[in-house]
Amino acid sequence: MKLNIEPLKCIGCGLCEMVCSLNRDSVLTPMTSSIILHIEDKSNYFGLVLKTKSEGLVLGRPEGTAPGQQASGASGPGAKPILLREPCDFCAGETKCAKICPTKCITVVD
């Protein structure tokens, strides 16, 4: 199982971040999620960063999806760095980020 990200379908709603933490810790917060919404709002540049077990960081940038580097996974000093977070565990098969994503930017592929 793998999560596929189509960044240009992302609308930056941030529901994936929230539901990931809800699944992991039973609380609503974007701070412990395995997926991070990256926004440069002044230039409307936004996408997703996903921490996986098999591929490390996956950067869903508007210009394309690619493996990422450590610095690219930062969500700002106000947040726990993604490399210190748990990798995606597919919510034990429930893949809740894919379920709640309203634009199907995140989908599950086998």
């Binding site: 240009l8 609308i11 930056g12 709603c13 941030g14 529901l15 929230m18 539901v19 933490s21 809800l22 699944n23 810790d25 039973s26 609380v27 609503l28 917060t29 974007p30 701070m31 926004i39 440069e40 709002d41 002044k42 230039s43 409307n44 540049y45 936004f46 508007p62 210009e63 969500s75 700002g76 000093p77 106000g78 947040a79 726990k80 809740k96 379920k99 709640i100 309203p102 634009t103």
Partner: protein, 401 residues
């Protein structure tokens, strides 16, 4: 306590004393955050303003993105504006459900709320900055680009009735002149960021109920094309040619926000130009600009100028039409640099404003009181029974009707 911090921050700018109040859980669960804010304002002596969030703000309920700003009444009229984008949710995550601000600082600065702490940061040098410069300055100084900033420009500083507060870089929420609430207090901006978390009574129940309602609404509404999905007047060629991508507020599945690029090719997806354009969601301002004969490009230029100055664009464009017989980026420039206020926009010019999302003001207040975006819920159809099905597993009790 579910879905709330249970805390109010109180800032007295006269003395720079910062204190906290605890909030009664039952009061919070009433789902009427606007009434709570009115009470807090009244208890503080009435000379102040309040930032607030709803019990559902930052939940998984569709478009649970709203906070609000409540000012002291003017001519007996309630002055309230939503706080949208990611600002409403981020405010609540900063550790406070409400923030009461009163008094006037002796020197210019901004309030910085994060992780349950608030401080007043002196920033006299930022007094000369426009709203964009203030947001940049705060994010650079604090080293975090996801800090949400509610700021004003020189029109707010001057206490003009036709000022507006700006959220990060964009305007559209404030049609009540609430920008002057900040400016007249020597308050350049309010910034917030938080690592907060909210306990949920039944996490799986909340998720499943929210998934059901989202699926139902999306099946009916389809895909959003941004602001033109909320107002067909913007489905015009010169507007569409500049559209980059729509972007949503927190938790919104059907965004009303369209980013238009005017300083680079809208098809560019890489991060290149630092200030390529503007995020349009101010329906009455865009309507007014296009009705005045401006192109979509010119309208975008004008809205950027107004946002930077912290001036409410409907009022400014209307004044340009009255005094010059036309409106253009250069006529708006002249007005913005004139150093004088303009009459506030009349009701006739404010079609599409958030406060008129519904036919009645009651539903608007209901949405703000709960933390829901009124524009989205007017489009989707406000069904309190359905909202309650999502809310009950989150807060542990049924919503009060």
């Amino acid at each position: 306590m579910y879905m709330a911090n249970g805390r109010v921050g109180v800032v007295d700018l006269d003395t720079l004393e910062i204190s906290e109040l605890e909030l009664d859980e039952e009061w919070l669960l009433s789902g009427d955050a606007v009434s709570i804010a009115e009470k807090l304002l009244s208890d503080s002596g009435g000379d102040g303003f309040v930032l607030g969030s709803g019990i559902l703000t930052a939940s998984l309920v569709p478009a649970a993105c709203a906070g609000f700003v409540l000012g002291s009444p003017q001519d007996r009229a309630k002055r309230i504006a939503p706080l949208l984008g990611h600002a409403g949710a981020e405010f609540k995550l900063s550790g406070f459900d409400f923030l009461v601000i009163k008094g006037r600082a002796s020197e210019p600065g901004y309030l910085w709320a994060r992780d349950g702490m608030i401080e007043f940061v002196r920033a006299p040098e930022a007094k000369g900055f426009d709203s964009w410069g203030r947001t940049d300055k705060i994010r650079d100084s604090q080293g975090d680009k996801r800090i949400q900033v509610l700021s004003v420009g020189r029109w707010g500083d001057a206490g003009f009735d036709s000022s507006q507060f700006v959220v990060d870089y964009w305007g559209g929420e404030d049609k009540s002149g609430l920008g002057s609430e900040l400016g007249t207090r020597n308050l350049l901006a309010i910034a917030f960021r938080g690592m907060g978390e909210f306990e949920v009574s039944d996490p799986e129940g909340h998720l499943q109920a929210c998934l059901r309602i989202q699926a139902k609404q999306m099946a009916r509404m389809g895909r959003s094309f941004g602001i033109e999905s909320y107002d067909a007047a913007f489905a015009r060629g010169d507007f569409r040619q500049l559209v980059h991508r729509p972007i949503a507020c927190f938790g919104c599945p059907f965004p009303c926000r369209s980013f238009l690029k005017i300083h680079e090719d809208p098809g560019v997806m890489e991060h290149s130009h630092k200030e390529p354009g503007y995020l349009h969601y101010d329906i009455p301002a865009l309507q007014k600009a296009l009705e005045s004969g401006m192109s979509a490009r010119e309208a975008t230029e004008v809205l950027i100028k107004c946002a930077r100055a912290g001036a409410e664009p409907v009022s400014v464009i209307a004044e340009s039409m009255r005094s010059n017989g036309n409106a253009s980026p250069s006529s708006i420039d002249r007005l913005l640099s004139s150093g004088r206020d303009v009459p506030k926009a009349g009701e006739d010019d404010l079609g599409g404003v958030f406060a008129r999302s519904f036919g009645d003001g009651q539903s608007y207040m209901k949405c703000l009181g709960l933390g829901l975006c009124p524009r989205y819920w007017a489009k989707a159809g406000l069904d309190i029974t359905a909202v309650s099905e999502c809310a009950e597993p989150a807060i542990g009790v049924p919503l009060k009707r």
